[in-house]
């Protein structure tokens, strides 16, 4: 186990970065250097190390603490969105693979259509009515994930359906539901796990974009995206405010992408390109 990890630096780095991200996010639930919403106007716009580890923002709030809580907010929103999208998409994919025919054509066309609307825009559409917030962000990201997972699972499931042991199961009179549960799902789960990791990175990027536009969690809850949008006003006076949240997003996404690549390599040795 450890040796196979050491032989795969991508997987190892990805795993370490991702675990670190989760650790920071979970730690923020019970400990941060300072309360992330505590304002100290006298300490405002201080550079890193002069007040707190990473400096302070325009209200004198501790950036390191905000960044930690931001990790939790960003990660939990993205996790919920991907969980929702992956579950729905996988269900649609395996269902269509079992039924085929006209359903397949219709569902795939619908997927194309949903895929044509970028999640930022669907979040804006939703936000115009139900108001922006975490719920809107989760739904908008999840809606975009559904076709991604539906296409992936349909393709993978169809390959399994053409295997001989599935033909044997059909010959034995097994129902399509049972075949899907016993043969299809377990055999495509690796590909789904890899995809979940990669889409989680994409979800973090999208969530950051949504919060940057004010379509994510409402203030005062700190999110990486809104920290960047706050920083925009102080690019000249306090450039460090723009540096750390972006770095956090990039590191989180990089870690998840590397983990996904590494997992693909580990779980699916056929696809080495």
């Amino acid at each position: 186990m450890i040796r196979s990890l050491l032989r795969r630096p991508t997987l190892l780095i990805g795993l370490v970065v991702t675990l670190l991200l989760f650790a920071i996010a979970i730690t923020s639930l019970f400990w941060t250097p300072l309360p992330p919403t505590k304002m100290q106007i006298a300490q405002k716009l201080k550079p890193p190390f002069s007040a707190g580890l990473l400096g302070t923002d325009q209200f004198g709030r501790d950036l390191a603490s905000m960044l930690m809580v931001g990790a939790w907010n960003s990660l939990s929103t993205s996790l919920l969105a991907v969980a929702l999208g992956a579950t729905l998409g996988t269900a649609v994919g395996v269902l269509v693979a079992a039924v085929r025919g006209l359903t397949e054509m219709v569902v795939m066309r619908v997927c194309d259509i949903i895929f044509a609307i970028p999640p930022i825009l669907s979040a804006m559409m939703l936000g115009a009515f139900i108001g922006s917030g975490r719920f809107t962000a989760i739904i908008a990201i999840a809606v975009f994930m559904v076709p991604v997972f539906a296409r992936l699972t349909l393709g993978a499931a169809l390959q399994i359906w053409s295997r001989e042991y599935v033909s044997a199961a059909i010959g034995m009179g097994r129902s399509r539901t049972r075949i899907t549960l016993v043969h299809i799902l377990p055999n495509i789960s690796n590909q789904i796990i890899v995809q979940v990791t990669i889409q989680l990175g994409l979800a973090i990027l999208t969530e950051a974009g949504l919060s940057f536009l004010g379509l994510g969690m409402p203030p005062p809850a700190p999110t990486w995206g809104r920290m960047l949008s706050d920083a925009q006003t102080f690019l000249g006076a306090a450039p460090w405010m723009a540096l750390m949240p972006g770095l956090a997003i990039a590191l989180a996404v990089l870690g998840l992408n590397m983990l996904g690549d590494g997992l693909r390599d580990l779980l699916d040795p056929r696809d080495k390109t």
């Binding site: 066309r109 619908v110 194309d112 259509i113 949903i114 895929f115 044509a116 609307i117 970028p118 999640p119 930022i120 825009l121 669907s122 804006m124 559409m125 939703l126 936000g127 115009a128 009515f129 139900i130 990175g201 990027l205 999208t206 950051a208 974009g209 940057f212 536009l213 379509l215 960047l228 920083a231 925009q232 690019l235 000249g236 450039p239 723009a242 540096l243 949240p245 972006g246 997003i249 990039a250 590191l251 996404v253 990089l254 992408n257 590397m258 390109t273």
Partner: protein, 316 residues
Amino acid sequence: MIALISRRLAGLIVTLLLVSALIFAVMGLLPGDPASIILGTSASPDTLAALQKEMGLDQPLIVRYFGWLFGVLKGDFGRSYTYGVPVAGLIAERLVVTVPLALMAIVISVVIAIPLGVQAARHQNGPVDWIAGLVSHISIAVPAFWVGLLLIILFSTMLGWMPAGGFPGWSAGLGPAFRALLLPAIALALPQAGVLTRVTRSAVLEVMNEDYVRTALSKGLPQGRALWQHAFPNALIPVVTILGLQFTFLIAGAVLVENVFNLPGLGQLAYKALSQRDVVVMQMVVLFFSALVITMNFIVDLAYLVIDPRLRAGMR
């Protein structure tokens, strides 16, 4: 060939119609009625009913959809609630910013990614490959709008070489207009270039192992020529596919980057329409972006036929 293209075109039209119906249905079915949004909570029921009638909101959704659709087909996109001007004009004004921005970003990402990807494949597992891999990994992970912020800090506030944002308009001349679009286009291009580099590398690697490349090399063709003349054209299909698929993300990035650089493009229009709850404008901008994405994928489909003559026979 013509039959094939016309069949594709019919598919494109059906998809566009379905997208328009979906967008209209979402905007129509969601809670919150535009008339009460315009009037606010203090309006009397009579005023509300009168405005609903004026806006046609008392009609069933399907009737409103076809009314809207025929309007759109005739070029009448409706009237903005907040600006009080036709939406078509608003969109046309913004398109001349967003479309050049997106095109510049595509060109920049192709110019970076294709040579980098090809060189990485040529020196597989060498230092160039390693650096290209690292750079593309990182550039995929950074958000375009953050790159935009960093570019502003570096080139505008610190060095003072470039404008920090805003758009002088094309009437100010090509030079200033392109200057205003350059940093945003770079910010938008970087993540795209990362994806494109990886795809180019793996596509070239795959065809490098084909017999015809080996033949070309054993004939004594220099490696560079074998690569560019024989391997590269055959590696183009996956590269073009990704260019098309990435277009959705380019559009999403443009919405954010326009806001960072305060560019009066479609993305900024959508953002303003959202904060003013201008449903007519929202609807049209979303439709426009989606139509752009769908048309782009259609063009990619057609590009296959140009790139690979074999597909003309295969894709009937």
